[in-house]
Symmetry: C2
Subunit: 161 residues, 2 copies
Amino acid sequence: MESRIERLCIERGLKMTGQRRVIARVLSDAADHPDVEELYRRASALDDRISIATVYRTVRLLEENGILERRDFGGGRARYEPTEHGHHHHLIDVDTGRVIEFEDAEHERVLQGIAAALGFDLVSHRLELFGRRRDARASAPAAARPASAESARDEQIGIPR
Amino acid sequence: MESRIERLCIERGLKMTGQRRVIARVLSDAADHPDVEELYRRASALDDRISIATVYRTVRLLEENGILERRDFGGGRARYEPTEHGHHHHLIDVDTGRVIEFEDAEHERVLQGIAAALGFDLVSHRLELFGRRRDARASAPAAARPASAESARDEQIGIPR
DNA sequence: ATAGGTGCAAAGCATTTGCCGCGGT
DNA sequence: ACCGCGGCAAATGCTTTGCACCTAT
């Protein structure tokens, strides 16, 4: 069946090839923030006639069409998520690289206000928190470089007030 | 005379070589957020016996020692600024790449609170606004990619409330 | 039919590193 | 004197691209 991302592609009049359909499906199904390598892995599992170059070209195309958003959580590789499943921000666990999404509607307004005070219209923004799980095993690696960001599964959770 | 950054290096017991001294001076004098290439340019102007590899090694060293902070404002290259001349955030002008610093003490608390609500201790955070100068010439390039971030001079200004 | 997409491998960029002579402490 | 530092160029790792072929529309 036609995936959500594929529908968006069609709406923008993008030519739908076999590989794009597969990548669209992978993206539609992703609940995390995969990097290109991971997308390539997942897409290849569904159809091995896809090259990583095409994945790169496709995420770029989708980003340019406002369907995807590129993220940089540190660690060298870009990670992607579908645009706008609600404004949210990210908290990255510095020990595991896991990404947790949270919303904070109030922020939107505040940030808008700050930009306005500086004489700007807010085009977009980036708010990322880097934190360490509380309590956990006290043996947290002292000088761990946050840069790792392995393929730990990401989470999405509501922010308890 | 001994620059501010050099003093910090000495405090941490870092070996002070000629090239490090020069780079320290350049960093101490910088009021903006130069990338490595720019630091190399400025350092070379003071002393041409410096290779770009050394600049890379030095900013890394300083970052590991908490003297510098690495920033990513989009545009592919890392940019640096001395740690803690007061907690502040950045607003990047998407049309010119110019960076404007602003403070917002209240934010610190709010962010801390959010992390806590999610069960984390806040290690660090990143808050960046991307905006377009209000009014300006109405002929703002429609689909300009923010990625450019040329060497436009950065600013630091207080946030009017 | 034909504009545009794809695979492959090579090219690009920013950044890191091996090697070895040199310079701080 | 000794260990770490710096220069140089080669190596890396992610991402882009040239080219020739292939495919949606």
